[in-house]
Amino acid sequence: MTSSLAGDIVDLTLEHLYLVLVSMAIASAIAIPAGILLTRRRFLQRWVLGFANVMQTVPSLALFGFLIPLPFLGGIGKTTAIVALVLYALLPILRNTLTGILNVDPSVRQSALAMGMTGRQLLVEVELPLATRTILAGLRIATVTTIGTATIAAAIGGGGLGVFIFRGLASVDTTLLLAGAVPAALMALAADQGLEWVEHKLSPV
């Protein structure tokens, strides 16, 4: 391996990590509050989950393509890539937040209200802690998926490890393919293990 290839691997891995972290941060900031809201506004559940479901079914390469002509969100480059990655990550986080909270034992919720907890206290002290594990599991699934999907970002100039993969595909160069695929796979494994550890650490019961 030439030293310039090694340098490129480091750069593109960092870029890949950046895409994943920014996308996950935005997706969590949208999906966790939205999931909480859905537990309070049940009639919205079908619509919002439906939207998130549809987003998941669009083939990823196509979704990146669809975004290119859009103003503000689209175009060529990182922004478009991040928008697409966020759209993909929404569903698992949203669904797990919703499920985690709805699965809190009704007798626990009932007694929280009967003890005179306010809606906010019920959420912060009872529902969220008891849903932590399920919500973190959603984050883990979303992160691992995003690391894989982010390789496609290179197709629209988003950078990241996908750059190696597309270049390797074009020139039928196995070394380049591996230079993209192996770090992405390792990153996914590390994220999976790391977040699983956090899940166990933070789980209150």
């Binding site: 034992d105 007798s107 626990v108 009932q110 007694s111 929280a112 209200l113 009967a114 003890m115 005179g116 907890m117 306010t118 206290q121 009872v126 802690p129 008891l130 209150p204 019961v205």
Partner: protein
């Protein structure tokens, strides 16, 4: 003296279903009233009307002179102890945190909460040194139920609501806790509204017994009156007693 709790022609309707029809009775301060009824008789619904977990679809529930619709429900609930079957303890809170919940919500100091928790756990036969730091999953059913009672009593509420509080326990433990509760109630002089399908529990714990049948109060009276009542549903509950005694005699 005005009654502590007053049901005034209270009806409840959930969706298309009528749960309660014109419930009308009073509970005086210091009384322990048991609402006895089969599953689906509306007794839990009636109980939840008292702390505003449910509001009547017609009629009024008046607590200490104020209708539940006019109470600040958070205030009302914090001064009303509530014990349910399986206790409904917070699984992620220790025993001490569960018991100290309402005092903490009410802004007591740490020391005051601590003292109160110790006092209650001791009263209920759960030595604090051994139990305060445990989680509900580390307790037996009977211990959980005791913690549930301690939690309900924590902020010294004048009124206790109990929904099948001892129903999930084995018969021996149930009788132990019932007796302990009885003794505690005499000492603390709380007003109690208890719902149960266990006629023995009603006879043991209550000063007056009401019988609910299909959402109507078909009987309300003291123990002796209950045992002599001729209403069909009340007699159905008498049979539960007869059968057991006959079983022992045979």
């Amino acid at each position: 003296m005005s009654p502590f709790v007053s049901f005034q022609r209270v009806s409840a309707r959930l969706g298309q279903k009528d749960i309660l029809h014109g419930l009308h009775f009073d509970i005086q301060a210091g009384e322990a009233v048991a609402l006895l009824g089969r599953s689906g008789s509306g007794k839990t619904t009636a109980l939840k009307m008292v702390n505003g977990l449910l509001l009547p679809s017609s009629g009024t529930v008046v607590i200490e002179g104020t209708p539940t619709t006019e109470w600040d429900l958070i205030r009302l609930r914090r001064r009303t102890g509530y014990v349910i079957q399986e206790a409904g303890l917070f699984p992620h809170f220790t025993v001490a945190a569960n018991v100290g919940l309402v005092p903490r919500l009410e802004g007591w100091t740490r020391e005051a909460i601590d003292t109160r928790v110790r006092e209650l756990l001791t009263q209920l036969g759960l030595p604090p040194a051994q139990f305060a730091g445990r989680y509900p999953r580390e307790l037996s059913g009977g211990q959980r139920q005791r913690v549930g009672v301690a939690r309900a009593l924590a902020a010294d509420p004048p009124l206790l609501l109990m929904d099948e509080p001892f129903g999930a326990l084995d018969p021996v433990t149930r009788v132990e806790i019932q007796r302990q509760f009885l003794e505690l109630r005499r000492r603390l002089n709380k007003t109690v509204l208890l719902v149960t399908h266990d006629v023995r529990e009603a006879l043991l714990l209550a000063t007056r017994i009401g019988v609910l049948h299909n959402g109507r109060l078909v009987f309300l009276g003291e123990r002796a009156e209950f045992l002599n009542a001729q209403d069909q549903e009340v007699r159905a509950f008498h049979t539960c007693l007869d059968d057991t005694t006959m079983g022992i005699a045979g």
